[in-house]
């Protein structure tokens, strides 16, 4: 696949601050038009990665190629990138409209999507005329989303995009992302909200302490994790007979809950058939459970 088929490509990317290693040897490719989720606990290196991809930080090792351009070599490619920082800050005395005009002007592209975004995020002319210092956290976040996406970027780097948004606005944001993707925009979304990543993204990467733990599709990650099996029996059963198939995480007298790997499922079902089974529930893990399982 040619290089520019991957809007994001990180090769051995690393960042150290003195003795502190923020990111180690990150190798990652995000495909054209893909919605890619970036998960990890606080301090895992998510924001560092995004800032390295934008060239705001200079890498200690490796390099990043964004939209087919080596990040350190030029700046013009950033015209096709929309960026929402995790903790977005504005100029307190500027109005919302002045802020959007200024940042749109710096992008060097017409802000064709601005009016549509403002409408969907319910930021009206009255709000835009006010100084940003009078905005609530939610309004600032909405302004942050609009400034990132107003110039219809080819690549959107969004760090915690729904922070501070109410559920209705979160819904509006998801619809905006879906529309962008229909128009071919690649979305790189860093979030703590796993349900959000699960909803928006096809593929995810998980970071831990600056290292990539795993990369895969949301479905694949969920499938790879152990199933939650809840079995109800007519009478108490011997737990040792079930513990052989997986991890018993809870048990009452007639109810047993286990985590079981996919490979052990047929044998477990066969064994359960020999016991006085009343009810059986098998659940795939949510991405959140898969995430927690990886970080436990």
């Amino acid at each position: 696949m040619p290089t520019d088929a991957f809007p994001i490509r990180a090769v051995g990317l690393g960042k150290r601050y003195g003795s502190l290693t923020a990111l180690t040897d990150l190798n990652l490719e995000v495909g054209q038009g893909e919605a890619f989720g970036f998960l990890g606990p606080n301090g895992a290196g998510k924001t560092t990665t995004i800032r390295l991809l934008l060239g705001l930080l200079r890498p200690t090792t490796g390099e990043a190629v964004v939209l087919g351009k080596r990040v350190a070599r030029s700046a013009a490619w950033r015209g096709d990138v929309g960026y929402l920082p995790g903790d977005v800050k504005f100029w307190p005395r500027l109005s919302g409209e002045e802020t959007l005009d200024f940042l749109g002007g710096l992008s060097g592209r017409a802000a064709l999507a601005r009016n549509g975004l403002l409408k969907r995020l319910e930021l009206g002319p009255a709000e835009l005329a006010r100084p940003v210092r009078t905005y609530s956290d939610g309004m600032r976040q909405k302004l942050g989303i609009v400034q990132a996406l107003q110039c219809t970027p080819k690549l959107a780097l969004l760090d915690e995009p729904t922070k501070g948004l109410d559920p209705l606005m979160q819904q509006a944001f998801y619809e905006i992302v879906a529309d962008m993707r229909r128009h071919g925009t690649t979305v790189f979304l860093s979030s703590h909200v796993i349900a959000e990543v699960e909803r928006v993204c096809e593929r995810v990467a998980m970071l831990r302490a600056g290292k990539l733990v795993t990369v895969g599709t949301v479905v694949g990650l969920r499938q790879a994790e152990r199933r939650r099996v809840v079995a109800h029996f007519r009478e108490p059963v011997d737990l040792a007979a079930l513990a052989h198939f997986g991890e018993v995480v809870a048990s009452a007298e007639q109810r047993v809950e286990l985590l079981v790997g996919q490979a052990q499922m047929p044998a477990l079902v066969a064994r359960l058939g020999m016991l006085p089974l009343v009810d059986l529930l098998v659940e795939r893990p949510t991405l959140e459970e898969a995430f927690l399982e990886r970080y436990r």
Binding site: R51, L54, G55, L56, L57, R58, A75, A76, W77, R78, G79, V81, Y83, P85, D87, V88, K89, F90, W91, R93, L94, E98, F102, L103, G105, L106, S107, G108, Q147
Partner: protein, 267 residues
């Protein structure tokens, strides 16, 4: 619209409000000096006061006033007065500190640097805004002198001479603006940049003063940038080559640091 123009408009928007009272204050101050200069009573008072004053005080004024207290000299004092210097220093430090370190400290540099703008353009825009702000203040100072002398001429005093003084005032503080820009490029917070730039400026001023009153320190005087700013000398003899060369060289070196550091640093 080019990114440079957009950045310049941004600086104008952020700094226009403080610039207006600073320029007005400086113009008014220099106008008052022309008014004071033509009062015979003031000249008599100053003559007797300066004759009685200790040399350390006269050195503080950076003027050779003891030998002749003239209207020309009094107007020249207006350009070396700490008030005028302070007004210029505010712009020379404030604009560059707010432009780079200020944006980084506030967290807004991320939004700006994530755009298709070379980092050098951020430094160049901050430099242009600083030089323009200082030019407005120097022009305002000269305008105050000019208005005072045109509407009520003082015998033997030409307003044109103070144009050169205003130019030298601008050049001196343009150099300090470049130093502040280098400090800003090296800092993560505006307070840090302001502390460095203002500290260096104050140190240079104190060195110049100390070297004039204390002969032991006299050989160090050339190391102070204020050594190359003497309004009285400019009024009498024009701008000398070294008074342009040294601030120009220091400013250029500071700019190299600013561009070089900001190009490479983490934001």
């Amino acid at each position: 619209m080019s990114a440079m123009r957009v950045l310049l408009r941004h600086h104008v928007r952020l700094h226009r409000m403080p610039l207006v009272p600073l320029a007005a204050g400086l113009a008014l101050f220099e106008w008052i000096m022309t008014f004071v200069a033509r009062q015979p009573a003031v000249s008599r008072f100053l003559t007797s006061a300066l004759n009685a004053a200790p040399p350390e005080f006269l050195a503080l004024l950076n003027q050779d006033l003891v030998s002749s207290v003239s209207a020309q000299g009094i107007i020249g004092v207006g350009y070396a007065h700490p008030f005028a210097l302070l007004m210029m220093a505010v712009v020379a430090v404030r604009v560059p500190s707010a432009a780079l370190a200020g944006e980084i400290g506030r967290g807004t540099m991320d939004l700006m640097a994530a755009r298709p703008v070379m980092r050098a353009a951020h430094v160049a825009a901050a430099l242009t805004a600083t030089l323009a702000g200082l030019a407005i203040l120097a022009a305002a100072a000269y305008a105050g002198t000019l208005v005072g002398l045109v509407f009520r001429p003082v015998e033997g005093v030409s307003a044109l001479r103070y144009g050169l003084v205003a130019l030298q005032l601008w050049l001196t503080f343009a150099c300090w603006g470049c130093v502040a820009l280098a400090a800003s490029a090296l800092s993560r917070e505006p307070g840090q940049a302001i502390a460095w730039a203002a500290g260096l400026m104050a140190g240079s001023y104190v060195l110049d003063y100390a070297a004039r009153v204390w002969t032991l320190l006299a050989p160090l005087r050339p190391f102070s940038l204020f050594r190359y700013y003497e309004p009285q000398r400019v009024v009498n003899a024009g701008i000398s080559g070294i008074d342009v060369l040294v601030p120009g060289a220091v400013g250029a070196a500071a700019l190299l640091v600013a561009f070089g550091v900001f190009w490479r640093r983490d934001l």
